[in-house]
């Protein structure tokens, strides 16, 4: 705004300020829609071209290991501590209403429905979307992606397809494991410091949790996997201008991936639990 301070001495120029302000908002909204359009086209190409043969199984396997297997420690630790903290919170809140014995069931519900997929999604975004954007961004600015096309290899099939597929396959597995570890975290806290009985805690959990609670979380996980890989690939593919451009692509991938995961989580929650 300070740009206009020196020139607001006459009335005409002063009037321009709100107009410029609206124009800025307008162009921001306009460019946001344009970006949504570009991402949608990229997503369509990625799905159509990436999933049609030829398939690159070697690439797929490599990505499954990199995206899935290597994320296990991060996701496991996150889930453990989240489960533990959740148990403490519910216990503290529950004692006010003499509802302490709800701890096990609410931990299980909270982890499987919400916290398992969301925490895993955000952690994997930080790890994987960033890594994908940095790798593909470097390949873009060093012309390696151009080189692929001159060697009879479509970069969508070779680079994007395997990454998206690997993320969609491995995220539900990761979240399944996170569910177990998260519930275990609650169990450890519940039995060691809150004085719950081992058998009762386990029985409460298994009695209360239904298959739908778990599957809804796994569906979310698959969607999050798609978002993570898509954002990494999209920003990497479109990065330009050397090292700085790659850094920017990495940041954008993580930020947009995280926001989209939280938004998609809300949409999926209202969709999956709407009965």
């Amino acid at each position: 705004m300070h740009r206009y301070e020196g020139t607001t001495t006459n009335g005409i120029k002063r009037q321009r300020l709100p107009v410029t302000f609206l124009a800025t908002i307008g162009s921001f909204i306009f460019s946001m829609f344009a970006e949504v359009g570009r991402v949608s086209i990229f997503a369509r190409d990625a799905v159509i071209r990436g999933l049609l043969p030829p398939w690159y199984f070697r690439q797929l396997l490599e990505q499954i290991i990199r995206i899935g297997y290597n994320s296990l420690p991060v996701v496991g630790l996150t889930a453990f501590f989240t489960g533990g903290a959740l148990a403490l919170q519910i216990y503290i809140g529950g004692t006010r209403y003499n509802a302490e014995n709800l701890v096990s069931s609410i931990v299980a519900l909270g982890i499987t429905r919400e916290l398992g997929p969301v925490m895993a999604g955000l952690m994997v975004t930080g790890r994987v979307a960033a890594a994908i954007a940095a790798e593909l961004g470097t390949m873009r600015v060093t012309e390696q992606i151009d080189a692929l096309t001159t060697l009879s290899t479509n970069p969508f099939k070779y680079l994007v397809g395997p990454r998206i597929l690997a993320a969609v396959i491995t995220m539900p597995i990761l979240v399944g494991i996170a569910d177990i570890i998260g519930i275990f975290g609650g169990f450890v806290v519940g039995t060691s410091s809150l004085g719950f009985n081992y058998a009762a805690y386990i029985k409460n959990t298994t009695d209360f949790v239904q298959v739908a609670d778990v599957t809804s979380g796994l569906i979310k996980a698959a969607v999050f996997g798609f978002i993570i890989a898509l954002m990494g690939c999209y920003h990497g593919f479109n990065s330009k201008g050397g090292a700085q451009g790659v850094g920017k692509a990495t940041t954008n991938a993580v930020v947009s991936g995280s926001i989209l995961i939280l938004a998609a989580n809300y949409a999926l929650t209202s969709l999956l639990f709407s009965e």
Binding site: T149, T150, L151, S152
Partner: protein, 254 residues
Amino acid sequence: MPEPHIILENVHKSFGSKHVLKGVNVGVGKGRSLVVIGGSGSGKSVTLKCILGLLHPERGSIRVGGQEVIGLEGSALDQMMGRFGMVFQGAALFDSLSVWRNVAFGLIQGRKMKPSEARAIAIDKLAEVGLGAELADISPAELSGGMRKRVGLARAIAPEPEIIFFDEPTTGLDPIMGDVINNLIVDSVKRLGATTITITHDMASARKIGDDIAMIYKGKIVWCGPADEIDQSNNAYVDQFIHGREEGPIEIEL
């Protein structure tokens, strides 16, 4: 007379407000070798990328073997690209793959060759560009700039494409290795019958490689003719460029 193998007509390409190609007209006959010379930033690399379909010109026509390239999409574009090989100015080696896998990439991915078979060919190609088999298993990151360039060259010629583009293949090489690469380019044109376009700043290599030479200046071809007529071109731009004079019609942007 049949239409040249590759022909560009009135090709325009801009980046934002920057008009880089302003109506390029040039052609290369089948099995012939065109050398493109011109100052830095004059649009040489951009021209090659337009032909390859990596950049999309706003106007004009580019035909390869009679087929229009501009506007090709999907598998038609993939198929067209499969006919080309390209040595990138910055080598563009895949740094996640070993040297031999780089060279064999087009054979394994494009031609579906078995890795063991492709490896043997890759090592032959490395030898052709003066690199020993002991480099085959290391990562491209461990190579010097000139070595990377030569691996890029081996990678481009290994699948024996019908058209090969060389973007400054001898820049950054010592004069002797430069001559080895020049001979290799001449030889691959003869042996494979490939049509080639080579970008170079080096007049010795231009004379050696080129059947024809085209000079580009400010996004247009200012002269094009047989390589042995370049000294009698009577073109002020060409004369200034080949003699490397500061005085002349070429404006130097500092």
